[in-house]
Structures are given as C-alpha cells and as structure tokens.
C-alpha cells in the first residue's frame, strides 16, 4: 500500500491505497468525491478533469500517489456555500449541459483555462476544450457558457 496525503478542496485528506490506484478512483472511491466522473479509460474524454495545484489534469491519467503532497480542486469545491462559481452559473444560464456527465470536467478545464486566458475568443475556447468530449450539447452552449463566464468574472474583478 502507498500512503497518499493531499489537500482536496481546502481540506487535508489522506489514505493508504494500492500503488496502482488512479487519482480518479482515489477521489471517487477512497474519498467519496463522486462529482468527478470517469468516461473513457484512455485520457480522451476529459470527464475526469480536476485541478492539480490550480492546473487542469485528467485524473484517470495519474496515479493517486503522484498527487501526494499536492493540492486538488474538484467540482465539489467550486461553489462557495450556496454561491455557485461563475462557470456553474453561466452553464445553467446558457443551457451548457444536458445529461451533465461531461460537465464537471468541462467546468474544471474551463476554470484552468480562464486563469491562463481571462478574455478568450470563441476560437480560443473551442481549442482549449479539445480534450473534453460532450455527446449532448454539440458544444455550442458550452462555448457560450465559458465566454459568458469569462465576461462575468472579468466584470467581478473590475
């Protein structure tokens, strides 16, 4: 067994796990944070995207052990109490989700990207989402949601 100690959504969490445990299953099954979904096993769909030290990673492509000592944010950590994160608000406002399965990954990928580029163009957002697949929305309202969130986040900071 391997000891893994991480900060998840601001709280220190630790556990002994099999060395082969993937980060996505460590989050879901060991820590009970089931908001992060697994979709493809090949790092293709991006449903499992979380933030590792603030940057998006696909948690099915990492071992839990590799996250030892680092800071993680999952979809459960995005809202502050009842106050949804601007991305969560904008996905709702713009019908950016249907079945919702890809949504946590989309939001985490977008959160990471908007930190890098706070005022992206539509083309920028589409390119940034290349690693996240959605089968319901045709991406149109996801892209719209992210552009809308970028606007409201910029407004909030101004």
């Amino acid at each position: 067994m391997t000891h893994v100690s991480v900060t998840v959504n601001g709280a220190m969490r630790e556990a002994d796990v099999e060395p082969r445990t993937l980060l996505v299953y460590f989050l879901r099954e060991t820590l009970g944070l089931t908001g992060t979904n697994a979709g493809c096993d090949t790092s293709s769909c991006g449903s499992c995207t979380v933030l590792l030290d603030g940057e998006s990673v696909k948690s099915c492509t990492m071992l839990a052990a590799q996250a030892d000592g680092r800071e993680l944010t999952t979809i459960e950590g995005m809202a502050e109490g009842d106050q949804l994160h601007p991305l969560q608000e904008s996905f709702r406002r713009n019908h950016g989700l249907q079945c919702g399965y890809c949504t946590p990954g989309m939001i985490m990928a977008a959160a990471s990207y908007l930190k890098e580029n706070p005022s992206p163009s539509e083309g920028d957002v589409r390119l940034a989402l290349e690693g996240n697949l959605c089968r319901c929305t045709g991406y149109q309202n996801i892209v719209k949601s992210i552009l809308d969130a970028a606007g409201s986040m910029a407004g909030a900071e101004a």
Partner: protein, 797 residues
Amino acid sequence: MATTETFIGQPVLRKEDPELLTGHASYIDNWTMPGMLWMALARPPYVHATIDGIDTTEAASMPGVVGVYTATDFDLAPLPFVWPITEEIKVPVHYPLASDKVRFNGDAVAVVLAETREQALDAAEAVAVTATELPAVIDIEEAAKDEVIVHDDLGTNVVVHWSHGGGGDQSVFDSAPVIVQERYVQPRLIPNAIETRGCLAYGVPPVDEWTLVTATQIPHIAKVTLAGTTGIDEHKLRVIAPDVGGGFGSKLNVYAEEALALALARRLRRPVKWIEGRRENYVATTHGRGVLHDCTLAGTEDGTILGMKFVELADMGAYYQLLTPGIPELGGWVYMGPYDPKAYWFEFKGVVTNTTPTDAYRGAGRPEATYVIERLVDSFARRIGKDPADIRRMNLHPPHEDAQTSIMGLNVDSANYEPLLDKALGLVEYDKLRAEQRDRRERGDRTQLGIGLSTYIEMCGLAPSNILGALRYAAGGWDGATIECLPSGHVIVKTGTSPHGQSHETAWAQIVADGLGVSPDEITVLHGDTHSTPLGMDTYGSRSVAVGGVALHFAVEKIKAKARTIAAHELEVAEDDLEWADGAFRVKGAPDTAKTIPELAVSAWHAHALPAEVEPHLNATAVYDPPNFTWPAGAHVCVVEVDTETGATEIVRYVAVDDCGTIINPMIVEGQVHGGVAQGVAEALYEEAMYDESGNLTTSTMTQYLIPSATEIPAMTTDHSQETPSTTNPLGVKGIGEAGTIAAPPAVVNAVIDAVSHLGVTAIEKPASPERVWRAIQEAKGDGRAGASPGSEGGTS
C-alpha cells in the same frame, strides 16, 4: 403557489442543473452499498469460435474473488427481443452468457464477483477459455452468401426480409424518362454516451424483492422483460434509472449484465455492481447504422420526382438485441421524405454477422432513410443539371393543416415544408454562396466551396399501440402521468418517460404549471422508478413530449374537472358559472371571486366539506395512447470548404431550420438541435466502427474512434420560428430529440460532394474523411493516381 404567469414557450432554466453542476448527480457509478460485490465479465479474445472449455480455477483463487460463474451455473431465460417483425423471421437464441460458441468480440462466457472493482477485473482476465477458431464474417454482403454461418441452427445468415409492399404505380421505376440508380453504404457507428453502462442489483432477501438501479433509458420495459429473463416475479422487481449520462439509443435496451447482476445478487444475497469499461462498451453495447441501400429515383427531365425505391441490406450483428430488426423497419415509413412521389417502394433484408448487435442509435432508421433520400435527390439534380434547392422546392409535398394519408400509408399529422426551405436558404444566403462558388471554380482555387441541403421529415411520438400491434411489436406505445396536488401547495408529477439529458423535469413542470396555474418552482417531476412512477413506456424515438407530455395534459384536465366541482361547491355557484382564467377558477362576471388549485388542494385534502360525490385528495392519473404519430420537418444547409489538395473539409456555416410543432421550451429545443446536428456531423465526417480482417474491432477506444470535439463541430445557426401544430395531440407538440441527427449527415456529405462536383466527383461515402475526399478527386481526375495516398509522391503521371 398560484400564479397567473404562463410558462409554455418560455426559456425556463433547468430544474435538473443544480445537482449536475455541483457534482451531486446520482449516476450509477456513484452508488455504493454495504457488502457490495463487484461484477466483471470474461470476454475471450475471439470473434467466432467454438468453445471447448472454460477453466475458472485460477480466477476463483485470486484475492477477493467470491465466485466465478459460467452459463451452466444459471437458470436464465434468453435475453428479451420484442420486435419479431415478420411471421417468418428467424430469431437467434441469445443467452446472457455464451456456452457453445463465441459469435462476436463482446460475447461473455463467464462472470466474476469480487470484493473490489480491480479484483473483479483482474480475475475476469484470468478466466481461461480454450476454443476452436472459426472463420468470421463481418461484411453484410459476404454474410448474405451464407458461406460462414453465424447461427448453425438457423441455417442462414439472412434472418429476416421485410417489405413495405409499395405504393403507387411501380412501372415508373422502369419507364420514367430519368432513372437514377445509386448504392450508398452507411458504416456502423458507436453511440458513445459519455457515461458507459452500469448497474447495481440489491434486494430484500427475506421477501424475495429485488431492485436494479441501471443506466437505462427504459426502466419500465426493463422491469417487464427482466422479470421474464430472471424469473423474478414482476411485482417483486423494481427498476430505477438514476441520473443517466446520455443514451442515444444505446441504453434503449436490456442487456446481459443487468440480468446477471440481478441473478447473482439474488443468489448471494448481497448487492452486486457492474460498471462497463469504455473498451467493453465499444464491443458489448449496441452499435448503430451498418446498412447499404440500392436506390432508384424515377423522375422527369424537368425535375419532377415520380417515384422512389429503396432496397436495403441491414447488419443485425451477431444477435438481436431488444429491437434490432425493427430499426430498419421503423425507417421504412419515411422513404418518401418531405416529397410527394407517386410511387414508393421499400424493403430490407436483415443479415447476422460476427459483430456487435446493432439497434437504435439516435434517429433509429430515420437517419439511414433520410441520408439515402437526400443523397439521391442531389444526384437527380446533378443528372438533369438543376439546382438542388429548386428540385427540392418543386417536389415538396403541398402543405396541409389536417392529417393526410401519405404514399407510404400512414397519416402525416400536418405539413408546411416550403417555408422551412426558404427560411434556411435565406439564413445561409444561398444565392450569394452560389455566386462565390462559381467565382472560386472559375479561378480554380485550391479551397472550393460546397453547399449541401437536407430537407427532411421524421416520424415521432412512438407510438399508437394499435399500429405497433399491427407491426408485431410486443408492447404498446402509450404513456402515463399522475399529478398530485399536495396541501402545501406543492405539486408532484409522476411521468412514465425516463430522461437522460432531455430536461423533462423542466419541460414537464412548464406544461403542468400552465395547466394548473402554479409556478414550475412548486412542481417536482418524478421519473425513472418503476415503484414511484409505475405507468410508463420510457424515452426513445422523440416520443417523450408527444406521448408522456400529452399524458400530463390529460391528467391536468382530470385535476381541473375535479377542482372545478369543489370550487363551484365552495363558491356556491353552478360549475357552468365558473371559467378558468389567469390561473384560477373565476366566477363569470365577478373574476375576483375565485379559487386557485393550491386552495382547492387544501379543501380536497382536509375534506371537511366536499360535495357528496367527490373523493378526497386532488390527484389524477391519465394514460395516453396517441391516435397517430407526429411528423416534425425541417431544412438544414451546410456550407463547407474543401481543400482539393488534401481532401480536408471544414464546415464554415451550418443552418438548421426545424419545425417541431408547439414548443414548450425554446432553450431546450435549441440544445437538442445543437446536439443532434453535432452527432450528424460526426457521422458525416469522422465516425466509423472498423474491423480488421479477422473481425476484431480496431476502433476499440476513444483514441481510435474519432469523436469530434469543440474544434471540429461548427457554430450553428438555428431557427424554430415555424411551429406547425400537430393534429395528433391537443398540445400540438411533435418532438425534436433526433431531428439534428436525421438532417445533418446528408447536408454535410452533399456539401462535400458539391464542393468538388465540378471536378467530376459524384459520390463520396460517410465518413467523408480527407482520404476519401482526396481519393474521389483523384479518381475523378482519372490521372492514375487513385492508388496513391495523400501527400505521397506516388502516381504515374
């Protein structure tokens, strides 16, 4: 509380979203129970083989393994198949586990239970199967030759032949001035719901009651059929569809794993959970399409379509799943498209192969039909040198407000097609694009412009039960709705539909809100649980609003009839003196004297002073069997740029104009169109399930099967301003879930062909990959380079 606001037609934000956005959804893999075991299946690496032995010894001895089971350990009936479409149909027997032969990549021969997910998967790998490999047959035309037989007991691979029987004068197919004959191939597609399948079976052993929580579109149908397969009494079986991460037809089924999980939970008296891996999903969950059509269009030199005839060969896969041969039959009713041919013919043969079973995939038969119709109409236009928009306009069926019997024999509820085409052409600026196309062609530009059209109809609202009966389908097509008005003012709606992204909680609340004069915020919609919402036929075939939504309307009417009686009693007026206005029963001429539904719900609940004949509690159930199908229609235009040097296609504009009848929530309708078009674009340009010569699926993960991302799917312009009400139901609704997937593939492929048609290209098959486009250009040039590959120095010129 009561409200005078109206909600139908408004873009009400979704009730579903808060849980989904914050990571609190109830997808099946989020379920866990004390004492739960994990199930994994052993699927040996064969395509077609006789099983000589299955050795489970090593697997059984591995850490955490509780048991390893093969077919002989179970007493299960075959998996359900509910649509024996002809009397003569040959039905392959399909048990949950294979015991004599492996017939496709996904066939399982053993099932493992272990304490953890990983232990179960490891042990499944260790099940040793000895088998004698047989030649496999993958191609449908090869399979139809019967040189390799998939099911020995059937004696042939051609298991079903269904003919529509035709309509009109069939002689036009020989004698018309213009005869266009083409063959179109449509490859297999993998549905790819982002959530794979999965289930959890658990029970209350002392009373032999069992629950299956499963990622399904059809909990109600699953309950009835799984009772048959497992032998659990139907009244002791409960099926729950939790939040489901997409379906697209792939979860419109009843699968081996669901039966096995139930059987094992019952046997071990412990909860049993199974979650499908993605590679497993690609071989063990149904595929779509996999058809080829020989098509004939009879027409005149001036462009009139006289007749359309289609003879199809359809790949069933190695077995039937729930509906398999019914899918091409379903398409068999729309081969006239939105046109008005005087002669009609459709027939198909279903062929079994050593591949994953096919079944419904978004559109189910109608995309296959629409693709070949729209390709054929474009070929006709090219043949006689006319603009494809003009040919469509002159052949569109005339409008009608009432239902009319079509050439294929069913009643089309209402129609008004030409304004849809005009709107689409206007939005895309068709004439301007044609001018630009001419300029580019004259200049000989490397990047050429193509414009593709698709005018379509679809048959939704599945389905009138009497027609389903005539078509030999085992079940009905009705749906149920129960409404309960609680004394708190809250309203509970129980629907028989089972959404998995379609926003029923929101749209159904809008329908009931307008009906009862309450806010959608005060309405909770329950669905997908055979205990709490027992009356239903589930979600598929764009049926939910047109059947389940309409059932709500009738339940509302029943509630209101009862509420009116109570209101009249309390207000001491005759019922006829009351009118429903602004969300309340009001005394005619004295509108401030009124009773709202929440007020009447309190009266009905305490029942202190009800009229003598009125039962306490304000609740009602309606079961609605639609008298007809519904027939949405639309016109889509795709504009592409094709690089004639590389064959690469880019969609530069996409316009979707759809008429789905009355719209409940335009935001949801638009979202359905976006997603449908994206899946259609994927089908047209990227996706294809491919097999090697031995029959192994080579596109076996998402890294090989090209699901487009946001960079490949274009921005779309949608319009749904035309709402031609359905005459089938009082809401006027038709359905929109599949329209995009039906319309888009031919619009895109027609555009690609159009871009290079001046080079002599007349045909490119799906998916129109750069390689296919490049080869088509080289072949049209006839310069002997057809055998070379793009970018190579090859060629003999």
